[in-house]
Symmetry: C2
Subunit: 477 residues, 2 copies
Amino acid sequence: MDIAEFRSSGHRLIDWVADYLEHADRYPVMPDIQPGELSAKLPELAPDRGESMDAIFEDFQRLIMPAVTHWNHPRFFAYFPANHSGPSILAELLSAALGVNAMVWQSCPAATELEQVVMGWLARLLDLPARMTGVIQDTASTATLCALLCARERTTGFRYKASGPAALEGSGPLVVYASSEAHSSVIKGARIAGFGTDGVHQVAVDADRGMDPADLARRIRADRAAGLRPCCVCATVGTTSSTAIDPVAAIGQVAAAEDLWLHVDAALAGSAAILPEMRWILDGIELADSFVFNPHKWLLTNFDCSAYFTAHPRVLTRTFSILPEYLKTEHDEQAVNFRDWGIQLGRRFRALKLWFVLRSYGAEGLRALIRSHLDMATGFAAWVDQSQDFERLAPVPLQTICFRYNPDKESAQSLSEAKLNELNQALLAAINRSGVAFLTHTSLEGRTCLRLSIGQASTRPEHVEQVEQALMALRPR
Amino acid sequence: MDIAEFRSSGHRLIDWVADYLEHADRYPVMPDIQPGELSAKLPELAPDRGESMDAIFEDFQRLIMPAVTHWNHPRFFAYFPANHSGPSILAELLSAALGVNAMVWQSCPAATELEQVVMGWLARLLDLPARMTGVIQDTASTATLCALLCARERTTGFRYKASGPAALEGSGPLVVYASSEAHSSVIKGARIAGFGTDGVHQVAVDADRGMDPADLARRIRADRAAGLRPCCVCATVGTTSSTAIDPVAAIGQVAAAEDLWLHVDAALAGSAAILPEMRWILDGIELADSFVFNPHKWLLTNFDCSAYFTAHPRVLTRTFSILPEYLKTEHDEQAVNFRDWGIQLGRRFRALKLWFVLRSYGAEGLRALIRSHLDMATGFAAWVDQSQDFERLAPVPLQTICFRYNPDKESAQSLSEAKLNELNQALLAAINRSGVAFLTHTSLEGRTCLRLSIGQASTRPEHVEQVEQALMALRPR
């Protein structure tokens, strides 16, 4: 591809993207496709001879687009949304064009320094403690793994990275605490880091599904008495199932008293803390040793961009640093080398998109967007509460509503839980197959519920109302 | 930012990118900047009010660009290059615009299925064994960590992920083998996965710095006799210092006889195996349990895109799978969910750029590019060999030349090694400060050498000749 073809194709693609962003609602949210259908249409071998960008882009529209789930669609309410924005997409274009690897300062000073600056901006927007330093990770899964590794190393005096399990000789196995509602990445990370599934002890939750700090304290004491070695507690601000909020301040006091590493996972919810009226969700964050939230979820920044903050950058770099001759530079004493701040050596220039987004929207623009999502969630929760056919199954502190179809909610003779689960699974499938909206489900105390998770940049109150209409039209009779 | 501003800014940026790609050689390869210089020019707080894209893009050109190291520059010869191309950049733009999370099939069927298809294309291009299945990881560091975790789990019957170090009770500690020239990510990954630095045993290398299989066999036997538990061997095809090539076939025979997991790290070199005349570097790959190479290094695909192949996909998924209720889908039996194939839950739509690149260039176009790099390396090596002032310190099987300034190379009274090291460090700094080229260094048996690593898409023989001229002009007298 020569420069002339790049230029003409680039202009064509920009127009296509602009149209797509403007009219994503013309697509069904979920594609009507079965596993294997796309693969069957593609050749088994790469072509020998190069093809024109026109031919490739034609196939992109003809073959790929009908198999895309539209995360940009204003009626995408599944999982936790991952929103983005024009400035973020344009910054990704520039970052791809520069093609730098931000592993060390020298390999792209702009990438390293802009990352320090924008992570400082985020820290101030969230009113994080001054002792916290930020670094961009790819995902919260990776960030939580980093936290678990730091906890493991601090607890063992950095002997685990040197000697592995031999570092534990003479002491019991390490234990991580998280609530039964914590994200699966805590257990996944604990398995990778060598705690094992057995090394993750589930803490009880209260009626709103937030962690019970008294139960945490009891378990730590009991584990110590049994010869185990409590190491880390992972608190969740905004659990994946129902956006429950663990009480960070109370948990932090237990962690501090027991000398445990406190990691706070606010992957989705953290963005809401830029609102003064929502900053309470991070009360107690000054007691945290590490903290993660994802601008790629709810702060208009393209996936992937996970903001990880640590109160102990030297623990982080001591956990990960390794310096072969071929990576030494003349600035290793004066400059930060983010190579030592995570799992991967290679790093993309992700700070650029955060910078574009934060400047293009400004703090007030971002606050307005998040407020609009919270308002829509309040509206939908009220609709559920007032409905004769639907009931809410969890509090709505943020932008996700857990609810289910239950036509007998006000009657004494309600349907069995098994029957309700079956009806709600069927309703979910019907909604998603309709192409009108994409919702996902969870299970709360054995009760299947639908989740409406609001967060796309283009979602407006009418889109939520369209889901209400679809729920009424598709509900079983 | 409304759609009209996105559209007009997008067109402006496409033109800027086209100009940049055409004229990257107008910039100094490395910026003339000191640590902290860019940060000092940026405000400490994000703006409250949004700003125009014109203002942001103006600052990008005025502040960011002078602090960028130009990996696209035709005289970027540092580290291992990470090249890219127009089709890859345009695919990144589309991928950013779609903004999907390819964690499960349902969350974007196109992303999952296209990934399966293009990884199949790569497997055929490299003539990998039919039993190998591919998945895209972010970096080779992550891929190698995945391999180490699979080895750990297979050796312990998947008890380590369940019980941590308790899974080792009654047996000795696990051991990983790699040559003294292996990449630092092996030790980093081994620390993360709980082998510890002590659990990585360095195997001796031969005169060309390839792993000595006889030494590997001896060490395994000695370790077993000492009560240790050999688990995994990491072979390197194209080491980072000097592109030495471990003999995979001979190592694989030892690994098979001893029932060790064989991981092959060909991060840079793997791309060369698409040339029939270079396929020998992967001789023995049919004995490997896992294999990684980076299309983001030498196959014109934007960073990040690391191609990981495994002969045991069920070991991989069993190592990583975790299935909370909120991630279950109705297609979990029929479709691949790449969520279970690596560390992270969230995944970008990276297959799109590989598809664009493979189709736009075709296999023959990619082969021509790699051949041109190999030819330039041969040419530069010959120049070094014929020079009176420079000497080559390692064989050149690929595209990287390790050499040093040594004016007395043909004389009996040569300078001391310490003096030569000092002169070569000074020469490296002078070359890089000149802005003409960017090279990095390594140390081979205590001898500091410069590395000229050829791989940028726009590098032509005249760019290599310009480095020869600069070396002559800047060499100490």
